[in-house]
Symmetry: C2
Subunit: 363 residues, 2 copies
DNA sequence: CGAGCTTGAGAAAACGTCTTCTTCCAGAGG
DNA sequence: CCTCTGGAAGAAGACGTTTTCTCAAGCTCG
């Protein structure tokens, strides 16, 4: 075909070389059980000698199965998503599939472009891990017969399912961890509130505060956007308000990093002057200065649950994967060094240690 | 095909509905010039009504063009790569292509798996942006007639080309920036030395040091591995040596973040006690504490250069992209706040400012 | 007014694989 | 010995496009 090289080593060539029919070669390549092992090894030898690789496109065309699953994320730059992608990739490969990644960059145009790509490539399922997605587009996918799984959007039509994350327990742990040390002025920086996940996290924070009987003043809840820039801006606003909080819980780790940037610029010491808690436990969280206390969400669980929800038919070669589909992805607090006693602690006399081990679970 | 939904809206259906032949529909979809506009609009209308989307697989099968380019990276977790991926994605979309991403995770097994995937999916070109790759695998790609482009590996067979990065000027800027402030004990933490890019960066550092007439003691060059963990470990070794450097240049930003983690743990103040310089200028660099002085490499240039080197034929719809292929991807120093006067500065009396603006180029 | 063009549109042959349907052969049971 | 059964391998028909022919008009120009 091409001007260079004879890429024309197709199934027929192999068949001729092995002295069998194309059908037999096909059967051998697909590990069909009804083929004489002697013949099979001859075919395999021929295939290897010719550097034969089956043409995925043709295979997909006839079988109607692309062996592709789509993953749509918000942006690739945000370190949370690469970790998610990595987990998805591992999980899909185990199941004998491949991953087609699309990033929306929060632009509606790119969103619909992503969806179109998925449809054109005939993916067998799409995981929508973006925070906030146009419902119509999901409808469109469903109309094309493509199963869709998303997060925190329960109660959806038949072809689409939803994974839920147990934000409440992790965030409750964080709130209690701070409260035990004597914090009462605990602020919260959310993500964009028209995003479902952001709303759920904020609700979890509010519920936890109510539970321990602390009333949250309105100006202690600030809307960010899940980016470092947004976290920085939110922190700047928060820290210039008349009544400073002694602790801040952030809707994700990137926001927390932005907050840390702000404290550093203002000469506030963490955790002495202010405690900071993140959410996600991205890899980077271990390496912020100081290392970030955060709530961990298990991406691998999330990926596994999503893929299970898609109900992909296992490939011939792939070993059946244990369906670990927990209905609720768990979260838990990881205590590092951005949380400590509040400035004017009323509790202990001894202040030798700045960090108190509370519901600790070191890593 | 599937048990759900009639995804069988193919070109024939559209043709029937519009009252034309399949060929005409095909021509309309591909913007062939020789079709009556009146007919075209009728076809377009029918296609829209039926939610017709052309089947990429069939299209690729017959045309022999997958409209896919492969990108192989080392790992997705390392923040440098997502930024690279983003730039590649943008650049490929502009050219009317799509991106197939593979990550090697430094595992030979995954490397060959990546290559096989690329071959099977019949990508029209592969950009190998991993630091260190098995030459045999690249050979294999070339044998299949797939153009390959990699970085810093000039002098390769005909189907593969190579992009070069101008490490020297950026790193020289960094060294001079430090020297001007009075630093003489400037250490270097490299990446894995069996990786080409890592060696080149180290060579650039050494050349720059020679140029300004400073002899580097052997224990001032430490091998890291381009990860935060590696940077941390290297810094720990470096800081426990008898003669502390006053500045450290790191082979990439992740290493520098690891170093910052170490300084923070040891109570060393940056830049007062020690200056730190990174390389790459990942997005995160702006938000470390304190913000990281680093050498920026323009990922977008790199992506554009790589794609140009692949010589992809422009798609019908895509507008011809200006070939910005500069032979050498430039780098330059971005001064932020991790660099300043050395502790026992011999130069100025006034120590009001800790950071001196030298070859500054703020962002 | 007819011959030679140009233009627009249909018919059919690829593209590389899977899969159903056949065919063939050998062994077993009658 | 003949037929029946079952397994193994071949032939051919999809799969949904693109694309090259082929053909019929509609023009222009002599």
């Amino acid at each position: 075909m091409g001007v260079y090289g004879k890429s024309s080593v197709d199934i027929r060539t192999v068949a001729r070389r092995a002295g069998v029919s194309m059908a037999t070669v096909s059967r051998v390549m697909n590990h069909a059980p009804t083929v004489d092992p002697k013949l099979a090894s001859r075919v395999l030898k021929a295939a290897k000698e010719l550097h034969y690789t089956p043409n995925t496109q043709a295979r997909a065309l006839v079988s109607g199965r692309s062996r592709l699953v789509g993953l749509i994320v918000s942006e690739i730059i945000n370190p949370f998503f690469p970790e998610l992608i990595q987990n998805f990739e591992d999980a899909t490969v185990i199941r004998g599939y491949e991953l087609l990644i699309g990033s929306t960059n929060y632009s509606p145009a790119r969103m619909s472009q992503c969806v179109r790509r998925m449809v054109e490539r005939k993916v067998e399922g799409v995981a929508v891990m973006t925070f906030g997605m146009d419902e119509d587009l999901l409808q469109e996918l469903a109309q094309c017969g493509i199963p869709v799984v998303s997060v925190g959007r329960s109660g959806t039509p038949k072809l689409s399912s939803s994974i839920d994350v147990d934000y409440r327990s992790g965030i409750r742990e964080a709130v209690q961890h701070l409260a035990v040390m004597g914090h009462r002025d605990i602020a919260f920086i959310s993500g964009s509130l028209h995003l479902n996940a952001a709303r759920q996290r904020q609700a979890a924070y509010q519920a936890a505060m109510v539970q321990i009987g602390i009333k949250v003043p309105a100006h202690f809840i600030i809307e960010g956007d899940h980016t470092m820039e947004g976290g920085f801006a939110a922190a700047e606003r928060l820290f210039s308000s008349p009544r400073m909080p002694t602790a801040v819980i952030c809707s994700n780790d990137m926001t927390a990093i932005g907050v840390l940037h702000s404290t550093s610029g203002r000469g506030l010491r963490v955790p002495k002057d202010i405690s900071v808690v993140g959410f996600d436990d991205i890899h980077m969280a271990r390496f912020t200065v100081p290392p970030l206390t955060t709530v961990r969400m298990a991406c691998s669980d999330l990926a596994a649950a999503a893929l299970d929800a898609l109900q992909l038919k296992p490939s011939g070669a792939a070993k059946p994967v244990a369906t670990t589909a927990s209905p609720l992805v768990p979260t838990r607090l990881i205590v590092r060094q951005t949380t400590g006693l509040p400035r004017k602690a009323k509790l202990p006399k001894s202040r030798t240690r700045t960090t108190v081990p509370t519901p600790q679970r070191k890593d």
